[in-house]
Subunit: 415 residues, 2 copies
Amino acid sequence: MTQPYTATTESHKTSMLSRKFGQEIINYFSGSPLNRVSFLRSSTAFLRAALPRSKFLLMRDLEPLAASKTTLAWVGYETVRELVGNPFDTEEEEFLRGYDSRVEIPTLVFLGMNEEGTGGGGGGESFEFEGEGGKYVGGPCFALDVTEKGSLKEECEKVQEEAVKGAEGREFRKVRLDLSLVPSDAAILAQARSLLDWNNRNQFCSACGARTVSVHAGTKRICPPSDKAFQKDPEGPPFERPPCISRKGIHNIAFPRTDPTVIMAIINSTGDKVLLGRQRRWPKDFYSTLAGFCEPAESVEDAVRRETWEESGVRVGRVVIHSTQPWPYPANLMMGAIGEALPGGEEIVLKHDPELEDAQWVEVGRVRNALQESTGTPDVEVEGAIEGQLRLPPSTAIAHQLLLAVVNGFHLAKL
Amino acid sequence: MTQPYTATTESHKTSMLSRKFGQEIINYFSGSPLNRVSFLRSSTAFLRAALPRSKFLLMRDLEPLAASKTTLAWVGYETVRELVGNPFDTEEEEFLRGYDSRVEIPTLVFLGMNEEGTGGGGGGESFEFEGEGGKYVGGPCFALDVTEKGSLKEECEKVQEEAVKGAEGREFRKVRLDLSLVPSDAAILAQARSLLDWNNRNQFCSACGARTVSVHAGTKRICPPSDKAFQKDPEGPPFERPPCISRKGIHNIAFPRTDPTVIMAIINSTGDKVLLGRQRRWPKDFYSTLAGFCEPAESVEDAVRRETWEESGVRVGRVVIHSTQPWPYPANLMMGAIGEALPGGEEIVLKHDPELEDAQWVEVGRVRNALQESTGTPDVEVEGAIEGQLRLPPSTAIAHQLLLAVVNGFHLAKL
């Protein structure tokens, strides 16, 4: 499902960068058809006009309403109106002045504008907004959490029922394991899932412990300076909360979190073998590239060298970044790299870090065969799998793309 | 101060990847001399043995104790013993059983082992630890927050006084703006600063609002299940806290946060101009590459295209990642990319997002001259600066390295 970069003009296909580096790989979960128009999220005028013309992706326990195994389902404003109301009728400043932490607000996130209009990919009714920077035309899309819980339980249940009514096959669908959604819908789902999960897990301020509230259409959470829940005089002003360091200075806690990770195809110093490893919980014969989290203040290149050494004992020299892939479980951004082991640093030692059950140097030819003949996700049983036959991740995984780059001579290519 | 990758063997310098991609750029703030041995952070036996033989980097309000403008200062265990105590005498499990949120604990973070021994870079006494994966030899290094506040105020002040005593020039030094630390110390500082800042800003659980506590030597924070502060019977068991979603399932809130950002040199479709922009607060004539934060579930390549369009109106096709740079203000990881504008997509429109005051297509030759003759940080006044002469960031900034790659023909090179 990974697609080569689709150029919008013919000449781009033979651009200078393409000539040198080959076509760009757009990995699964990236390449969204939506324009995020991030600068419009703080425009109440835009959001107010867009909301009733929008399509909504409903999520229950972080799983989306799907039309089928391969496509998401969308509902119109009429289905969610009672739950959502008109949150953008009030300017943010005014809303914050009246903030009351006792009132539960459904999590509603603006995803972007589908510029291809009304068809497919969740685009709402085509809509035109005249902003300071020009005209923005497209179908606005939101994600909405309809998990039945708390004081919104009944309203959420009603929306869930309404949403599947009369539409055969529509259901809230666990999509994680099969990666069967079409790539454009997978990219939209990844964005929706990451943002709803982040909102859910950041209901309290990590700096002071007080309730937070979503602003900018679900893409920012702040620790409001006052709260009616603690108002002493019902006629007086809202209760002032104690000072919080999240209200001043440079910090990141108001914004969604994305965790950079590294994933790397390591070739040996003679270029004929690739380092593969397997986790204990994976099915027999399933291997992949090594991977791990970037540490604070560590470059991607350093993280590749550290993680490879910690997990396998192999020492890596030169590292080149190949492509990247968002992975919304929970909120990772995978930096795919090709690295080269240092001569004399190729001995495998698994005992530093017990994360891997095994790591091996595998001949490039064997990797090529497995990429063609024997791929799948570790969670899906394969019928008729031959014992001892190497199994590798599917083309939707960046691990597959990195290995493909190596077997295609990424490191040797004369361009 | 950016150094080419220093290969540990001669043959690495002419490795397959190097032949194709040139030498790796190790950007300022990366390339730390410390081995993080991340798997040893959960070994109390290791930490207990290492602590008294360690060197400590003291930080006050996130600024380090420095020996000079270019080097950090380190103190031994004797200087911090009274403040720090013996936190690793107790196994983590036991410590958590007796957790009391009323007791303030100084923030102490294990940074890693200096494998070059005792000299420079903060290495402590050379120390050998026999772990399951083998012998780990080096000088262990910690960072310690000695900001005078709360119940630890007096002890922190004492450590501060003791640390500067008799050592001329030692002071807590604001190092942000001048980037004058030697690269190895800058990388250590970046790690220390990121981790202390994250600990400071995550004293409360973002999922439930309760107090969190540092484990794994400052590299993880958890929301403990019980707390003596709420104990009803002083003889009874510690108070059980309500369930918290941070105690189960896959999530990231226990771990340090790093924010991926993109920074990109965009070339026009004929390859003779580079897109530069300037922020309002920068001095006149100072320009740099465009940059911005990655969004949730967005690849680096997509983020480069989105940010470039939002800030400048320019539409970008192919994107190639060049190198990366940690930036510890507060905790960014900059993904440096070279991108190519689409033919017909080169018109500059600043009005979408008001972030930039100006953006311009600048001829490659003019960029080359400025990189050689007129660089500096935007915060430092330059004496004798000629009005109208383009000024660009210094070689310590990845923006400089990206522009250098372009003027050196990165996108055109025949390898």
